[in-house]
């Protein structure tokens, strides 16, 4: 693999890594009318 391709791969990795780690961890609701 040439250097240019490797650099591009690294760049794509850096750009998408934070978003791929992002996520919803927890959801809490307060509800009314529950029996």
């Amino acid at each position: 693999m040439n250097t240019r391709k490797l650099a591009l791969l690294l760049l794509v990795g850096f750009v998408f890594a934070p978003v791929s780690q992002a996520q919803i961890k927890h959801i809490e609701m307060r509800v009314e009318g529950m029996t």
Binding site: F14, V15, F16, P18, V19, Q21, A22, Q23, I24, K25, H26, I27, E28, M29, R30, V31, E32, G33, M34, T35
Partner: protein, 132 residues
């Protein structure tokens, strides 16, 4: 309601406390869950959601009109409502920094007995837990 919520996509588990009317939803590992869909599912089961809080990890991004949003996946983001805590994350906009935010995503409008959440959900930041 618990079974109804448990059937929604992206839901790992649901804990319901009848005493204080609290419902805890734990998403699956990938975190791909739609809070608006959960709101609708609760509404459809005949219960009113008074408040929905969310803890999410993501990037702060600016949309086309310059408003800030928390992007939790490439195709899911939540517009951030204006409050004092917004200023703490504003400098991180469009950077690679990842933040963990606890915020209020929905609150039942005062005076109305039962409504389905039809307006787009906005995240009101309650706490910035972590900046990475």
């Amino acid at each position: 309601m618990k079974q109804h919520l448990g059937r929604q996509s992206g839901v790992q588990s649901v804990d319901v406390s009848l005493i204080d009317g609290k419902v805890d939803v734990t998403p699956k590992e990938d975190g791909q869950i739609d809070p608006a869909q959960l709101l609708k599912a609760v509404y459809d089961s005949g219960v009113t959601v008074a408040e929905m809080d969310l803890t999410a990890r993501g990037k702060i991004v600016k949309d086309v009109s310059g408003n800030l949003a928390l992007q939790v996946s490439p195709n899911q983001s939540f517009a951030i409502a204006h409050n004092d805590l917004l200023k703490t994350v504003e400098p991180l906009a469009d950077s690679s920094a990842v933040v963990t935010i606890r915020g209020e995503l929905y609150r039942k409008p005062a005076g109305k007995k039962k409504t389905a959440a039809s307006t787009p959900l906005k995240l009101l930041i309650l706490e910035v837990q972590k900046k990475e």
